[in-house]
Assembly symmetry: C2
Homo-oligomer: 217 residues x 2
DNA sequence: TAGATTGTTAATCGATTAACAATC
DNA sequence: TAGATTGTTAATCGATTAACAATC
């Protein structure tokens, strides 16, 4: 039995940007990187970089920095990029289609094994390697394939029902693109990816700064 | 000249979910809602709901709660949903296409006036109401139309160059879907929407909980 | 060794939660 | 009025930033 590594949520959200910076450095054949340089590349304070790393790894060398190869390996392990995660996409609309064929996902360990939709015209179609299956088969197919992750890209009113079916089939995590709060058992992990949040945040700042400009006159 | 309303960043991120809950309540012809009920609908602590609202509005009535109509109006104003925001999408791939035709965006005040791509086969095509234009015209067309927001859905290596062209054309905000940190002047607002963050966060939790399960044996 | 940079502690800052008098 | 729920203050919690002895 290992250590009960607990990583703070804000730290976890920063790890992907560290990883991307490291991969870029490796391409330039660099061996070591300092927290100071990672600050420049990612925008996170160098103190914070060191503190983040020390939550799961204390392999930095005073005077030299962090071995890029080692750090990449540790992050890949920590973020589960080595063993593939099997997922299904529910909702084969524009967004669902985009996710099915998103080029970068495979490199991150994601394997989309099926898509679902309830519209007859879409069923049977192929999106890249992924076949669109009738949505009434969600629970049974998810169970049969042992799928761990369900990606929800249906309209808001349908999302809760889809979540229930995915959970009944045995998924342990949901990636929810519908703008609605899902009610799920405690042991199910949910990540909400509501694009409205990003858009309205920007829209707010735009309106604000416009008012500031006109107030200056 | 009005008050310099400052809204804490975490608060701003919660406002869209309040708004969505309010719209749902309004459809049920409800007049008032309490912070306690909003806690149930959104998952945010009722104390926090009140504190959030009081950053920009103190119109709640002790004993009754908040007027749904009034609160919706205040939020729409605050989030800039009344006056439309003009935007362009750069990168007419799967994700760019999905965003161009995302049904909910118009209701949030977003108006996509053009899409850009540098692939000849895509130029001239129509995505819903949006025409795909040659990417070499970004700066000039953005300037001519007075576009405020640039949405970047190109591959990471191209993203910085696109950002520069959009800024040269006069956009004041960028919505960046490329997994890379953009370098921009101080007065440009950037929102990063890196889907890898969401995916890797989920993947991490999945790997962790699997280890816990096997550790229990 | 001298210089650089780590790991970690302490100081600061900000956000969340609890509590309750004010008030509709 | 009595009951409910606000607005706001105080207490807690957690995250970020600064500083520096330890060490490669």
């Amino acid at each position: 039995m290992g250590e009960p590594i607990k990583i703070a949520k804000p730290t976890l959200e920063r790890l992907p940007s560290y990883y991307q910076a490291l991969v870029r450095l490796k391409k330039e054949d660099r061996q070591y990187v300092s927290s100071r340089e990672l600050e420049e590349l990612t925008g996170w304070d160098s103190s914070q970089v060191r503190k983040d790393f020390n939550q799961f790894w204390s392999g930095g060398r005073p005077g030299r920095g962090y071995s890029i190869d080692e750090l990449i390996r540790v992050l890949e392990d920590l973020l589960g990029m080595k063993r593939p995660t099997d997922a299904v996409v529910v909702g084969a609309g524009r967004l669902g289609t985009a996710l099915c064929s998103y080029p970068g996902f495979a490199a991150l360990g994601l394997r989309i094994v099926a898509a679902f939709d309830n519209e007859a015209s879409r069923i049977g179609q192929q999106i890249g390697d992924v076949v669109v299956v009738d949505a009434c088969k969600i629970t049974s197919l998810v169970r049969r394939l042992g799928v761990q992750l369900g990606i929800i890209t249906v309209p808001a009113p349908a999302a809760q029902g889809i979540a229930d079916q995915l959970i009944a089939g045995g998924v342990r995590a949901l990636w929810n693109f519908a703008p609605i709060k899902l009610v799920v058992p405690d042991d199910i992990i949910v990540r909400n990816e509501d694009l409205a949040v990003g858009l309205l945040t920007l829209s707010h700042h735009l309106t604000r700064s416009e008012q500031e400009i006109s107030a200056q006159k």
